[in-house]
Each structure stands twice: as structure tokens, then as C-alpha cells.
Amino acid sequence: MALGHGGAIYSPPQHCGLAKHSLQFAVHKPRVKPLGCSRETWFHPSFRLSTSSHDIGVDPMSTQDDPSLEREFDMLMVKAGAAVPQDYRAGIIAGYGDMKRLTALLRQPRAAADETSNVYTLTAFVRSK
């Protein structure tokens, strides 16, 4: 079944995998590069990832053993001045492991001039006077 409305023809997907597009285009061409048939994900010239989302980047839980992760965590808690209740510890360490996986994803090629999102102007302070 295909429906032609608003310039787009829609075809129900044949499966949920990566190999086939579910939309076909009659009038409008895709103006953003679509996902290809390979497992390469395209999104920005600066970012090139070769696998599906859950495989991106470093998974510290698979490369760092639990004792060393725990030692690292304990050191950070001492630095923070936190006495973590023993009963809560395992859950936070698991969260720390996942956070390490996430922070590894933040390191992408950037120029030194690429600024942060929260660069501010002084007008933000003046306007409230």
C-alpha cells in the first residue's frame, strides 16, 4: 500500500532492520542525508560512528574490572567529602560506570574556538535591573 499525500508516498516498512527505508519520495527529495543500507551512521562531518547507538564509544564496564572501578569511585567520594551509605554504594557505582561510558562520548574532534552553549552576554544581567 502506498499513499500519496502532501507530496510524500508512504510505504509500510517490510521489517524493522537497517536495510530498507520505509518512506519513498515522489515529489520531495530528502534534503538530509538518509541512513544508508550499511551500519554506518551519518550525522555530521565531525562525528563518525561506525556502530549502532548502544555500541558507541567506550564501555568502561567491559574494559575496566569492578575492583578498579570501585577504587576510582571511592577516591572520588573521598575528594567530594561524601560518606556514601554502604547499602546505596553498588547502585551508585553502576551509575558511575554508565556515566564514564557517556563522558567518553563527549570527546569529539573540535577546534579550540568551538565554544560552549552557555556563553553569555552582559545584557542578560543588565535587563533585570
Binding site: G6, S22, V27, P34, S53, I56, L76, A82, I92, T103
Partner: protein, 473 residues
């Protein structure tokens, strides 16, 4: 009373018409909802405080004013409720936490002040995850809200009471807040509409912060029109909120009732369809919704977004860092006063370095530039999944907080774009499914236009929970 329909099924617009024609009083409407709350909420746990006296006083005042020809706008005489992180002068505001169990603010949040000025009727304060983060939890001063579609299932969070209350017809519109999906998650799991407005559209002043740069305030409502009418009251520039945008407030209802001819919609199917653990029902529901939008006249085109995990990493690092900074003192000095999930989530913030946070802010600029400067330069809106699965059961949650979430909402907290959550059907297990409609910055009217057209055509609005509860009213 001039209608055969139950009063809680009247839209805000229809109730408003009846209030102004004199065929319905705000007092009658309010008493109906208070009775419904008394009947249903002992099982739903949506409310942590029901302000019965205040509600009846507000309603009587609204009746007097409307009778005298004083019209304060679309919510005059209409009941509403607030997530319990919105400060209410003289009324307990706990953030669902032992730490603030006796907190009675001396000033209203800006949103509450706007509801008051608009003559709306305050029904009470709604359950949340502790400090809008830790839940679902059974170790807090109040029990978690339950899903009206099935009481054994999670409502989503953190605006859990808002989702449950609106879905069960206890109130037509309720305020939530959204830092990583806390409006859209409950809207998805409970089958309501939820609007995360553009960052800066609604003042956050007087709302307990979770993350300064990711927090958004917005409504959960029964319909898109209800959401638009609520937005008309709560939106606007606040010079004392550093994030508030100094731009004109649009007519949020201006696009309602229009078809979608002339609109182009990006459908980044690979953004969600390849995610680990996604339910085939969710994919099928989104495909059907894309098809429906095309039938309504939109050009629906496949597009590609940056990988979800990049948005997720960026948002999680910022959220966790800022939440830890806000709670650091209490986390260090009174850890056991927090719920287990809250403490476990927040303490991870102590492990994030300054360089990590700076990199997250740099990535945020890049992602926002791609979404706003590339994707939404081309398309009027993006259609994507809200969550990967229907609402999980409470007993699926482990003792320790799970590090990963199955919602797909964080990307648009990172970019700040207006995003509407709207139901797209039901799972075989009888739980709601839904999608997100993401618009250009400050273009809520187009997002609402798309949502309203889909809502009217798809008809899911008429699918309400039976509640399987002792409904007496």
C-alpha cells in the same frame, strides 16, 4: 447543567463557553472534580495535597466575576493542578521529599501567579519524583502515582501525578516540568498530551530547579487545545528568570483546526527504530502516525538526526552535574533523608569533572546547531518516538536505580526545541503509545497545529482509561 456528558469530559473551551453562558458554574465543575478526586485518588495517588477550600473559594470568585462580566481569559473558572515543585504561597510545597516536608513558601511561582491572575481554580499539588528526579520510589513521604490504564504500571516521571490526574479525568490540565522528559514521559505512559515549550518560553522562577540549563515548565492536558489554552495563560517573558526569552507571546491556538498542507515533516526513523529493546508496537504505531500525517497533507520525509546516544550523553552529564551542584550540601550532610533512587542518581554528579561538563556544553552547541540550523531549517517539524516501550510495571524496577532509561526525550531538552507528546494508539496490553512532534524554536503554534490535526484524525483522544476503579461520579 446543560450537557449529558460527564463534566470532566468537557474541554476547557467548552467548559469556558458554558461558564460564560451561565449554563454551568465553576463551583459545580469544581465540586464534580473534587468528588472524582475523593473517589479515585486513594488508588491513583496523583495528589499529594488537595486544596478543597482554596478550590471552592476560587470557583465562587470566578462565578461572581463572570456573572459581573469580568472575563480574565481562557482559564477563568477552570480547575488546574500543579506538580509539587511549583511554589505556592501559604501552601505546602514538598518536592515529594522528606527534606522539604514542612516547606510552605511565602511567594508564588510565576506560573502559579499567572494561573491566579487568570482566574483559574487551584485543585491541589501533584505527586512527582523526588526533586523531579528520583522515582518511582516507595521510600518517600508519599507513594508514587499509579497509571490509570493499569494500576500495576508506572506513570512515567517525574510529572507522575500530573500524568495520572489528567489521564483519569481528575483535572483537564496540570503543570509538569521537563528536564530530560518529565512532561513527555508521563504523557506517553498515561496517554495524555504534554507540551515541553521552547526553553525560555515559560518562566521557571519559583519552580524548584533540577538543572538550570535543561529545565522547562509546561502543561500535561487532555487535548492539544487544552494545552494551547493553558499555554496562553502561563507563557511570557520574565525578566527575573535569566533563561526567559524576551519575545512576544503568540496565539497558541492560531493553527488549531487547520490541515497540514504546505508543511514538511522530518521522520528520522533510524533515530529510534534501531534502538536496543524497542517494541515493534512502538515502531508500527509511529509508522502509522507518519502515514496519517501524510494523509492530512504534510510531506513526510525520512531524515537523519545525530545519534541519540550523543544527545543522551550530553544531557545526562549536564543534568547530573547541575543537580549535584544544587543538592551538594544536603547530599553530603543528610544522605539518608533522600530516597534511595534520588541519592543514587544525584551522587553520580560528584564523579563528573569540570572538563566533562565543558565538553558537554560544547557538544550541546553543536547538536543544537545541527537540529536548528540544518534539520529544522529544512523541515517545519520532526516526528519521532517518545519512548521505546509502553509503561513498565512497578515490579520491574530494581532495588538500585537503573542507570539507563528507555525514553527518547532528552535530545530536545539539549536543544531546547518545543516538543509535543501525543498519543498514537494502544499496545496489545492496553497501554498507551505515543510520539513526539518537535518544532522550530518558539514555534509552538505549528507544533500544536500538527498535533491537533493528528489528534482529530486519529481519534485516540476518545480512548480513555476505564480506570477499573470505583468511579462514583
Amino acid at each position: 447543567m446543560s450537557t449529558a456528558r460527564p463534566l470532566h469530559e468537557l474541554s476547557i473551551a467548552e467548559a469556558g463557553r458554558q461558564l460564560r453562558s451561565g449554563t454551568l458554574s465553576s463551583t459545580t465543575l469544581t465540586q464534580h472534580l473534587l468528588s472524582r478526586i475523593a473517589s479515585l485518588d486513594p488508588l491513583l495517588h496523583a495528589f499529594v495535597l488537595v486544596s478543597k477550600e482554596r478550590a471552592l473559594a476560587d470557583a465562587e470568585r470566578a462565578d461572581r466575576e463572570l456573572k459581573a462580566g469580568i472575563d480574565k481569559g481562557s482559564l477563568h473558572g477552570i480547575p488546574y493542578a500543579l506538580k509539587d515543585i511549583y511554589a505556592t504561597a501559604g501552601m505546602r510545597t514538598t518536592c515529594h521529599s522528606k527534606l522539604l516536608i514542612n516547606n510552605v513558601p511565602s511567594e508564588d511561582s510565576v506560573v502559579e501567579a499567572k494561573f491566579k491572575a487568570g482566574g483559574a481554580v487551584m485543585l491541589g499539588k501533584l505527586a512527582t519524583h523526588e526533586f523531579a528526579l528520583g522515582g518511582p520510589s516507595f521510600d518517600l513521604p508519599f507513594p508514587p502515582a499509579r497509571n490509570p490504564w493499569n494500576l500495576e504500571h508506572f506513570t512515567g516521571g517525574s510529572s507522575s501525578g500530573s500524568g495520572a490526574a489528567v489521564a483519569a479525568g481528575l483535572v483537564r490540565t496540570a503543570m509538569g516540568s521537563d528536564t530530560g522528559g518529565s512532561i513527555r514521559g508521563p504523557a506517553f505512559y498515561c496517554g495524555t498530551v504534554g507540551l515541553k515549550p521552547t526553553y525560555g518560553r515559560v518562566s521557571r522562577r519559583g519552580v524548584f530547579p533540577l538543572s538550570y540549563t535543561l529545565d522547562h515548565c509546561g502543561p500535561l492536558s487532555w487535548t492539544v487545545e487544552d494545552a494551547a489554552l493553558t499555554m496562553q495563560v502561563i507563557a511570557g517573558h520574565d525578566p527575573l528568570d535569566p533563561a526567559s526569552a524576551d519575545i512576544p507571546t503568540p496565539d497558541f491556538s492560531s493553527g488549531l483546526g487547520q490541515d497540514l498542507i504546505g508543511l514538511t515533516l522530518a521522520y528520522p526513523r533510524s533515530f529510534f527504530a534501531n534502538a536496543e529493546g524497542i517494541s515493534p508496537e512502538v515502531i508500527a504505531s509511529l509508522d502509522a502516525a507518519a502515514q496519517q500525517l501524510a494523509k492530512l497533507g504534510a510531506a513526510v520525509e525520512e531524515a537523519t538526526l545525530p545519534n541519540f546516544e550523543l544527545f543522551n550523553a550530553c544531557g545526562r552529564v549536564i543534568l547530573t552535574s547541575e543537580a549535584y551542584a544544587i543538592h551538594e550540601q544536603d547530599l553530603l550532610t543528610r544522605p539518608l533523608d533522600y530516597g534511595r533512587y534520588t541519592y543514587q542518581r544525584m551522587m553520580v554528579g560528584a564523579t563528573i569533572s569540570a572538563a566533562d561538563l565543558t565538553q558537554a556544553f560544547r557538544l550541546r552547541r553543536e547538536l543544537a546547531t545541527i537540529v536548528n540550523g540544518q534539520i529544522l531549517e529544512t523541515y517545519h517539524a520532526i516526528i519521532t518516538a517518545n519512548g521505546l516501550t509502553p509503561a513498565p510495571r512497578f515490579d520491574e524496577f530494581p532495588v538500585d536505580v537503573p542507570p539507563k532509561m528507555t525514553l527518547q526525550t532528552m535530545p530536545f531538552n539539549v536543544t531546547g526545541n518545543p516538543t509535543l507528546a501525543i498519543p498514537t494508539g494502544m499496545s496489545k496490553s492496553g497501554l498507551p503509545l505515543g510520539m513526539q512532534i518537535v518544532g522550530r524554536a518558539f514555534d509552538e503554534p505549528t507544533v500544536l497545529r500538527i498535533g491537533a490535526a493528528y489528534e482529530a484524525a486519529a481519534g485516540w483522544i476518545h480512548n480513555r482509561p476505564s480506570c477499573e476503579l470505583p468511579i462514583a461520579v
